[in-house]
């Protein structure tokens, strides 16, 4: 096991693309999460009119609107970070496909690794990518919580389970990239197909088959893991003042992991069956 990790790390550490990809991912994502609160809201600065109940105070920016407020902050940041999951996914796919393009996986087998050992060493990359993503969000969110909340009043960990959901979401997209990289062996083609499938094929398919079947299409559970928080964010200050908490659907979490495992198992079978 240690040997496999050491082999995979050796492949990653000398790759400039790995460092550029990972560092830019971490920096961009944390910078966005930190600066997102200062984004202006359209029509901000309006004062509430005591004589007119329809005239409400509009917060100056998203931080004022409660973007960083406990307990919602966990959901807000992990939802926003979800858009960035394609960066590690493309990296994963690129690394996977280049092992075929340069015939290095074949060489690894000639040198003495079994196909199973190669598979598990690549799983290390997948877990590493998923953990880096998750930790970036978790650490940035923790820092934001400390600077925007009075911790004497609220529970730090309440609703932090959205981080688990974020991990599952990233794990799924990485598994999909892993599978496509192995199946297609060409990174450009695999990236195009991944984007097409995620943003076109499955939404259209989902529209045709309709609910509830559409809820079980491969990428759907991972997309639905973290509910969109913005609608509620802007309702906080509305006259209704409804503050319902979203929660993670355990069913989506399980189905999402289930699909990830299926994809990884499929990757293993393709590797095993195919001549290198």
């Amino acid at each position: 096991m240690i040997k496999l990790i050491s082999i995979e790390w050796h492949k990653l550490r000398y790759h400039r693309f790995f460092w550029i990809g990972m560092v830019s991912f971490v920096l961009l994502l944390s910078a966005l999460l930190v600066s997102f609160g200062s984004f202006q809201i359209f029509g901000s600065g309006a004062e509430a009119d005591p004589n007119d109940p329809s005239m409400l105070a509009i917060p100056a920016n998203l931080a004022d609107a409660g973007f960083y407020t406990l307990p919602f902050v966990w959901q807000n940041t992990s939802y926003l970070a979800g858009f960035f999951k394609f960066i590690p996914a493309f990296l994963m796919l690129f690394f996977m496909a280049s092992e075929f393009e340069y015939r290095t996986m074949r060489q690894n087998v000639i040198d003495g690794l079994s196909v199973g050992e190669i598979f598990f060493s690549k799983i290390f990359s997948l877990l590493l990518f998923a953990l880096v993503c998750t930790l970036t969000v978790a650490i940035t969110t923790s820092a934001l919580i400390y600077s925007y909340n009075d911790l004497a009043e609220t529970d730090f960990w309440y609703q932090s389970s959205f981080i688990v959901a974020f991990f599952a979401e990233v794990f799924f997209i990485l598994s999909l990239a892993f599978f496509l990289g192995i199946l297609l062996k060409k990174s450009a083609l695999a990236i195009i197909l991944l984007v097409l499938y995620y943003f076109v094929v499955e939404p259209v398919l989902g529209f045709y088959v309709g609910s509830p079947i559409s809820d079980y299409l491969p990428t759907r559970p991972s997309r639905n893991l973290i509910p969109e928080p913005f609608t509620r964010l802007f309702k906080i200050n509305s006259f209704l003042n409804i503050e319902s908490l979203d929660s993670i659907s355990i069913k989506n979490l399980l189905v999402s992991f289930f699909y990830s495992i299926i994809l990884l198992f499929g990757s293993f079978m393709v590797l095993k069956k195919r001549d290198l």
Partner: protein
């Protein structure tokens, strides 16, 4: 005689093309074994199967004492077709990775780089290498950990004449240390100069396997026949200098470890009351023999 590799009926079909027909072959320990054949004859397919990167449609093969192929591969240094390395790593880093895969405790990386004259470029990235340098790095990788078996597929591919001579020298040196060397090549001169044993493949069939001497000009083969073939065979087996006896095309093909002229052989047999109906000294070069084997197969 210990057997390093035993091939027992492996075969491979790609769609409609039978790339390799089942055949048997044993590679004895300590030999320099040439697998000879034109392009597309099944050499690389054979090597791919015995290294576990291609699956065989039938039969099997055994490395060493029946070790699993992945364990066995740690004792084998192999160079298959093109050199495959990570382009973004230096030669040194690439070899370090190979050493990790082979679980070598103290890899002789500097030594093998020196052997192939790449030590001065050891810390340059692989992607900047010329074809000849890439090939030399692949040879260096196959030498890592001083393997018991060296398996080289077209080892002089892409090398200039000096490089070819160097590699040939290197193979001879390594073979002299008792390492079993298996070379696949379509270049006869390459095999002729270094190999003690030869197998000839064409269109996926094994046409010949045996001592290279029997094929080459150095040791001539004497073909004999007589009215009583059985008595002839018994008499010949009594000759102390007999190295090899093969019945072929109704004759007995003989090779001897000492000088043996047709007239001397004739005399020895006549002394035992055996009179030959046929005697011929075959002095074909490996190339002629090779072409002969290939054309004979085509005629059939």
């Amino acid at each position: 005689m210990q057997i390093v590799l035993e091939i027992d009926g492996i075969s491979k079909r790609y769609g409609k093309v039978q790339a390799l027909k089942p055949y048997k072959l044993q590679i004895p320990k300590g030999t320099t074994f040439g697998i000879l054949g034109p392009n597309g004859s099944g050499k690389t397919t054979t090597l791919g199967i015995i290294l576990g990167i291609l699956s065989s449609d039938s039969g099997g093969f055994t490395w060493f004492d029946g070790q699993s192929v992945n364990t066995a591969k740690k004792r084998i240094g192999a160079l298959l077709e093109t050199p495959n390395f990570y382009p973004y790593m230096t030669a040194y880093q690439n070899l370090k990775l190979v050493a990790k895969i082979k679980e070598l405790q103290n890899p002789n990386i500097d030594a093998v780089l020196k052997t192939v004259n790449l030590h001065e470029r050891a810390h340059h990235k692989f992607k900047g290498y010329s074809l000849g340098m890439k090939q030399r790095l692949a040879i260096a990788a196959s030498l890592l950990g001083e393997p018991e078996v060296l398996l080289l597929d077209e080892p002089t591919n892409g090398l200039d004449p000096t490089g070819i001579a160097e590699v040939r020298d290197l193979i001879t040196r390594i073979a002299a240390n008792g390492t079993t060397v298996i070379i696949a090549s379509h270049i006869l001169a390459e095999v002729e100069k270094v190999c003690s044993h030869v197998a000839v493949l064409q269109n996926g069939s094994l046409l010949y396997s045996g001592l290279a001497d029997e094929l080459s000009a150095k040791d001539a083969v004497i073909a004999v026949a007589s009215a009583d073939m059985q008595a002839l065979e018994i008499a010949i087996k009594d000759l102390s200098s007999l190295k090899k006896l093969r019945p072929m095309d109704g004759h007995l093909h003989l090779s001897f470890s000492e000088d043996m002229s047709p007239s001397k052989l004739n005399q020895l047999l006549a002394e035992q009351g055996i009179y030959l109906s046929y005697i011929e000294e075959k002095k074909a070069s490996l190339e002629e023999r090779f072409l002969k084997i290939l054309t004979r197969d085509k005629a059939n």
